[in-house]
């Protein structure tokens, strides 16, 4: 070997890659200060929210959703009819108030108004059983939103627990758990939904007057069906997310300081897949609403006289030729809700996905 002393640095030349040993000296206070990053402190959440509110589509859908929410909360208070009430004028059943067009009054009502009284208009008209259609659509929207929201929560909880266990454990447990998911995934879901709803609505009997009975066994079986079937997509998603987060060295770092698996899942893994969880839950709601509408449409959804958007659309089918607006209102409502939730979900993804940091 050529004799050279690495401690003696020869004169430095241009383009050389030699380390300058004089740089191995303690950094001065000034040098340390130079390293300070000047960027302003923003939390991840604030940053995401800022981006979300820059997205016109997302803001629009938030506005539409807020409007719908306000409507379904406020409307039952100022509309003097209830969703199951058969219209009557001065205590007498109003037989003429059948299939009225929007803002039309029946003969009895016109006489009542002529006497100088005030009668609240039928904004969407009435149905063939002389019930105010507007309030029925409002209640239908309520039911659909509740179903969508709770079904998504159920899906989220089951999928989250299953997916995080599978992803964190890895290896053989993961293999087995994912094959179970594959099997459930490969079932024709609509067929199973219909079969389960039929079977469950036979089995489930509730004490009359209880909250569950009010929702009807169909509705409860709907939640169960969702819980049993639709969590698989969520579980897969969360597992994949956890597998990729597990690759990060901060997980190893947490293990190297002696943290327990529970601590690592709570403190490191879940916060880092939170954005994905929020986004996919937001996207889950419209699909649940859609399924509920579908089931109600084929007659397996909520129990009459409780309306849902799907069952309203279904009963509008019969008079489609003469009263097309009765299909238009619930259908429009479904479209508005599903569309704005989808757009909001997309907006959330754009705002919170760390891989789209550019904007």
């Amino acid at each position: 070997m050529a004799g050279y002393d690495l401690n003696k640095t020869p004169d430095k030349q241009i383009l050389s890659m030699q380390l300058d040993l004089s740089k191995f000296e303690k950094a001065t206070e000034e040098e340390k200060r130079q390293q300070d990053v000047m960027s302003e402190s923003t939390t991840f959440f604030k940053d995401g929210m800022r981006k979300l509110f820059k997205n016109p589509l997302a803001v629009g859908s938030i506005a539409v959703l807020c409007l719908i929410m306000a409507l379904i909360i406020v409307a039952p208070h100022f509309v003097p009819y209830s969703y199951q009430e058969i219209l009557s004028v001065e205590g007498k059943r109003d037989k003429g108030a059948k299939n009225l067009a929007p803002f039309e009054y029946s003969k009895a009502e016109q006489a009542y108004i002529a006497k100088g009284n005030y009668r609240f208009p039928h904004i969407f008209g009435t149905d063939e059983q002389c019930r105010d259609y507007f309030i029925r659509v409002i209640y239908g929207t309520r039911v659909s939103l509740v179903v969508g929201f709770f079904a998504s929560i159920i899906v989220l909880i089951i999928g989250l627990i299953y997916g995080s266990i599978s992803g964190y454990a890895g290896g053989r447990p993961d293999l087995i758990m994912m094959r179970i998911v594959d099997i459930i995934y490969s079932l024709p879901d609509m067929l199973v939904v219909i079969l389960l709803s039929v079977v469950l609505s036979q089995i489930l009997v509730f004490k009359s007057g209880s909250f569950l009975a009010m929702m009807g066994s169909n509705m409860v079986s709907l939640f169960i069906v969702f819980g049993l079937l639709y969590w698989v997509g969520m579980a897969r998603l969360i597992r994949a997310q956890i597998l990729s987060i597990k690759e990060n060295e901060y997980i190893l770092a947490a293990r190297s300081i002696g943290a327990k698996p529970g601590h690592i899942i709570r403190k490191h893994i879940l916060p880092n897949c939170l954005s994905v969880i929020i986004i996919s839950t937001a996207l889950q709601i419209p699909s649940a609403i859609f399924t509920e509408s579908y089931l109600s449409f084929v007659g397996l959804g909520v129990q009459a006289p409780m309306p849902s958007l799907g069952s309203l659309a279904n009963s509008a089918r019969e008079g489609l030729q003469s009263y097309p607006y009765k299909l238009v209102f619930p259908a429009l409502m479904i479209c508005l809700i599903v569309l704005s939730l989808n757009l909001l979900g997309d907006g959330l993804r754009d705002a919170f996905d760390p891989k789209l940091k550019s904007k």
């Binding site: 070997m1 050529a2 380390l19 390293q35 060295e249 770092a253 300081i257 403190k267």
Partner: protein, 318 residues
């Protein structure tokens, strides 16, 4: 108390790798033994993929060792006592970007070891400890509430070092702590490691692929090739009188800016690629690229033998 803080005996780490239908053993670390004295630094060098990181992680039982003994401070490290051991052994990671959780503030990152081992009794005490750790590694106290993604690479590495120091360890595995940093910042961070060693008396296993950096900070250096140690010696001796052909080629690749010296020494260019760790050559792992290779090298794997003065070499012919 023995003079060694760490004694590693015949450490093996085999990963099971699926190759088509077959399960193969990937011998990432194969029969590695070394010791580190109290408050000293052992440098570990070798090219990418030779198993340096795996050695470091196996020491802390981040990977369960396939075989071998790790004796820390006179006590064997097992999966039972590892939680207690992690109060005395810590690690600084290679990548300052992925080793800090982007959703945690600096305060929480540094405070996490304190939380896990419950090393404080009041919130105020926790905060005091964190602030003094930040001062130790040269971070401003105002940075405590910032998120890790707001910092430069050098500052992130300081945060990682503060986290490792939080439990007051006696030994730290530094896994290429500077290779992701700019050269000027490398110098500052390496300085800090030396300062900390003087002040706190910690011992390091300092992993790097840059011999110059390692020579600067280490008392002894171990050279690794394909999961095996090929040469271990005092830092200056290894750099000035390398014996193993692989070490010689590594040193000849260190750029020297003086044309006279460059001309005088011949550059040893290694032929061929590093063999895959899945298909290790028989006998000496280096024989496919060694110009001194003989018949014996293909049959018998050379052991590390003492060449006097604490200079160990694994080679039949040198």
């Amino acid at each position: 108390m023995s003079e060694n803080i760490l004694e590693v005996q015949h450490l093996k780490q085999y990963f099971k790798v699926r190759n088509g239908w077959k399960l193969l053993d990937l011998k990432a670390v194969d029969d590695v033994s070394f010791t580190i004295k109290h408050g000293q630094t052992l440098g570990l060098v070798g090219e990418s993929g030779c198993g340096k990181t795996t050695v470091g992680r196996t020491l802390l039982h981040l990977y369960e060792p396939t075989d071998g003994k790790i004796i820390f401070d006179g006590e064997e490290v097992t999966s039972k006592n590892i939680t207690a051991m992690r109060k005395k052994m810590q690690m600084v990671f290679q990548d300052p970007y992925s080793s800090l959780n982007p959703r945690m503030t600096v305060e929480d990152i540094i405070g996490e070891p304190l939380d896990v081992h419950k090393l404080y009794s009041t919130r105020a005490e926790r905060r005091d400890k964190i602030l003094s750790l930040m001062e130790t590694v040269g971070l401003n106290a105002e940075h405590a509430t910032r998120y890790a993604h707001e910092f430069s690479g050098g500052q992130r590495q300081r945060i990682g070092i503060a986290r490792a120091l939080a439990v007051d360890p006696k030994f730290i595995v530094c896994d290429e702590p500077v290779s992701a940093l700019d050269v000027s910042i490398q110098a500052q961070v390496i300085n800090m490691f030396e300062e900390l060693q003087e002040r706190l008396g910690v011992a390091y296993l300092f992993i790097a692929h840059d011999l110059l950096v390692v020579q600067h900070i280490s008392d002894r250096i171990a050279v690794m090739y394909l999961g095996k140690l090929v040469e271990v010696a005092d830092a200056d001796e290894l750099c000035n009188e390398p014996v193993h052909p692989y070490t010689q080629s590594l040193l000849s690749a260190v750029p020297i800016p003086d044309p006279k010296i460059t001309k005088a020494r011949q550059r040893i260019v290694l032929e061929g690629d590093v063999p895959s760790p899945l298909h290790m050559p028989t006998g000496c792992p280096f024989r496919t690229r060694c110009k001194y290779a003989t018949e014996q090298c293909a049959q018998v794997c050379p052991e590390l033998t003492d060449r006097g003065n604490g200079h160990f070499v694994a080679c039949h012919n040198r």
